[in-house]
């Protein structure tokens, strides 16, 4: 029953967070000066035309009415239509999202594998040159501004890897095979994914190192040593498992990168993902698309945290108690 309580509590908490985020989403974008119509300064548009446009977009209604309509539509899974293209928001966002997901996944996988490896090695060999080197690089990468790192990679790999976009636009003229298309996509993904991967790598390596070092000082590790276990067995089988707890949380939290980090990286590599779509929506005052993008961000973060909470329940018996 304790498990059911925990599950229920976490679920309610997640739902409340989502509702608050949805409401804040609505308020924040309307608190900014101007609207989609004032943004559209059209010399030849008459006042009547602008009013008609406001009416079409629902901007003539009171904020409260707009809020109620927004909630009702959302409950029906309708995120509205873009003010700019008049297309459903989901249609506007689904392609960018599908472009971003594999890129982020590749970057995150890279950072998890290398961040954990490097953190473990550093903790295991603490105080040595290996630890010092690992620590320095991790700190350096962690503190690099994402967009600057992206730009540097772009310059360094100019001519070797594509500088922008998601695919070679002229590939279709060569009648490409399935494999050619796959390789082309992958090539375009490498630089943006590497940018995200390198920044996250620094973070993961630092956390794993410090968490593992703490665990290596615990009594149960001393006991394991006293039992005569070998070093690798102590680190991998005993200490590492305990040290993984904060890493699980960190990985869940970094899913917020989906939109936030993607904005910077995608702007450097002209990568048509959710980050770029969000940026465009900001400059065009396209509320529905902005709300949609932030809703996706919110849901992904809340969902990831929710999953982390549930995972914790499994991983850490203390939570169940």
């Amino acid at each position: 029953m304790r498990g059911a309580d925990y599950f229920l509590k976490r679920t309610v908490f997640a739902l409340v967070t989502v509702f608050v985020a949805i409401t804040l989403n609505f308020i924040i974008f309307r608190a900014a000066p101007g609207d989609a119509v004032t943004g559209l300064r059209c010399q030849f548009c008459t006042i009547e035309f602008k009013d008609q446009l406001r009416e079409e977009l629902g901007l003539d209604k009171s904020k409260w009415e707009q809020y109620v309509i927004y909630l009702e539509s959302l409950a029906q899974g309708d995120m509205g239509r873009s003010f700019v293209t008049r297309e459903p928001v989901l249609d506007e966002l689904i392609d960018p999202l599908l472009n971003t997901l594999p890129m982020i996944a590749l970057g995150t996988a890279f950072s998890i594998v290398f961040g954990i490896l490097s953190g473990v090695v550093a903790a295991w060999r603490r105080g040595t040159f290996l630890d010092w080197g690992n620590l320095s690089f991790s700190l350096l990468f962690y503190s690099l501004p994402t967009q600057w790192l992206g730009l540097m990679l772009l310059i360094v790999f100019a001519g070797t890897l594509p500088a922008s976009g998601i695919s070679d636009p002229f590939l279709e003229f060569t009648d490409p095979s399935w494999w050619d298309t796959f390789v082309d996509r992958l090539e375009h993904m490498i630089l943006p994914a590497a940018t995200i991967g390198i920044v996250l790598y620094g973070e993961y390596a630092l956390i794993v190192r410090s968490s593992l070092m703490e665990t290596l000082g615990e009594d149960f590790v001393l006991t394991a040593r006293a039992k005569g276990l070998r070093n690798w067995a102590i680190v991998w089988k005993h200490a590492f498992r305990s040290a993984l707890l904060p890493v699980a949380t960190l990985i869940a939290l970094s899913l917020g990168y989906l939109v936030a980090g993607a904005i910077l990286v995608e702007a450097v590599f002209s990568y048509p993902g959710i980050g770029l779509a969000t940026y465009d929506a900001v400059t065009e005052r396209d509320y529905p698309v902005l709300q949609g993008a932030f809703l996706i961000l919110t849901l992904s973060v809340v969902f990831a945290n929710y999953m982390a909470d549930l995972l914790y329940f499994k991983l850490d018996p203390r939570v169940a108690e």
């Binding site: 900014a32 000066p33 101007g34 004032t38 943004g39 559209l40 300064r41 059209c42 010399q43 030849f44 548009c45 008459t46 009547e48 035309f49 008609q52 700019v84 293209t85 008049r86 297309e87 730009l151 772009l154 310059i155 100019a158 001519g159 594509p162 500088a163 922008s164 976009g165 998601i166 695919s167 636009p169 002229f170 003229f173 995608e266 702007a267 450097v268 590599f269 002209s270 048509p272 770029l276 400059t283 065009e284 005052r285």
Partner: protein
Amino acid sequence: MKRVLALLAALLMTALALAACGGDGGGGQAAGTGAEEEGEVVKGGILRVGTTDGYDSINPFVAFSAQSYSTFIDIYPELVQYNADFEWEGDWAESWETSPDGLTWTFKLKPGGKWSDGTPLTAEDAVWTGETILKYADGPTANLAPFLEHVKSLEAPDPNTLVVTYETPVGNVLPQLQQFFVLPKHVWQKYAVGDGKALKQYLPEKDLPIVSAGQYVLTKYDKKGTTILERNEGFYGPQPNADAVGIQWFANSDAMVTAFRSGELDFIAVPLTAVSAIEDDPQFEVIKAEGFQINNFIFNSNPKKPQNRELLDPRVREAFAHALNREEMIEVVHAGHAQPVASIVAPVAGKWMNPNLKPEEYDIDRANQILDDLGYERGSDGIRMANGHKMSYEIITPDSLDGINRAFEIAKTGLAEIGVEVTQNSLDSTTAFEEIGAPEWKYLNFDLSMWDWVGYLDPNFVLSVVGCDQYGGWSDTAYCNPEYDRLYKLQAATADEEKRKEIVWKLQEILYEDKPYIQLVVLDIVTAHSTKWDGFLPGGLDAYTKRYLGEPHQVG
């Protein structure tokens, strides 16, 4: 016409009429191609073009962005266009003549044109497009209506003749018609029903390839990727040299320049700060041309402005003008690729620019003398006092304008030398423009700003932005002068070019004296292309002629 900012940028480019510099006034066909003839012409190949100006829509009733308009020129017929020497020539029109009263324009059209779906292109398409634009001018077709301003009717006495009749004489008929794109009636007419809203809602990109009758057919549309134009075999004019053109969008110019230098692109407009690096590379050829963008310094000229009213005084404005170091801005901000200017009409507009107006010299002593004579004495901190308060002001700047922060610092240094303190309020473009108009487009709060205008070859638009009727429209100065407005309307209705020129020059004089703006510098347009290609026209002409993407060719 275009303010460089996200939305705005879009709007501007769209709107107006370009015009006629060096036009032959309207009878007959102009000559001269101006195309380069160096290198052996090799037909075929894909021309890969990089751009940082995105498409906003490919529906002409919705689009505002410069990139969209540039593509409409390539895929739709227009009656006339400019050649490389800025002279008029026919595009679809073979020749044209004007009635003695200037109200009726008869265009003889090139025969044999076909839409890309095989349907014949006829004058009936032009009549339908024109009538539809006029019918819904107050709503769905509002953004194209200016190009047919004062048009009374369009008729097609035969498939190759179009007659356009105006209600009143118009000073810039050809510049306006140069932006009149003819659409395929058989595709669009089902949307021109009821209130016409369907015209705006139609998404041509859902029916690719877009039915085109220009030199290219749009076969792939990707706003955030690469849009592809392929040669149209049914084009009424000369076939373009390239088989296809790929227009690839970049989110930032650094990435675009990097892609160009590594051979991923054949042709780009070069950011001015990157020109020297590309110039030194023998793999590329650089073309420099006079540009359309003029950066300026703005005074709030609203006579009802409650604060800091000393800024309304033309003498104070003159003192400011002598404290702004244009040469330093050119060197530091634009890497030497700009020229000082005095008028809102750019030199590239040719005879329309008033050559008698000279940029104010950078002369700190003279500026100080003017303010001393006005009795604005310096306080102990070196800042002058005017009407009981410090001469300390805020300058609104849009963050989208390249180099604006450095330009502001140069202005700040110069003004500090004459005892004027300025601080920068950097805002995104939409917000900056709203701050200038605040509150509610009454223009009461702001003092100063630094921004730009991008004009056309015809001065009609750029002279309109200071009209009294532009409060809440294009005005960024709140300038309002009834005499100016009277002359502006007069030039718009003056068909005689010489007479119109005199009025246009007078308008520029008025602005120079009243100084709602201090015009600072006009930026060059620099393009670069791989030496594997040739035949490019000067940058900026993409808005004026099909030759821009029709003539480039591979070199043997």
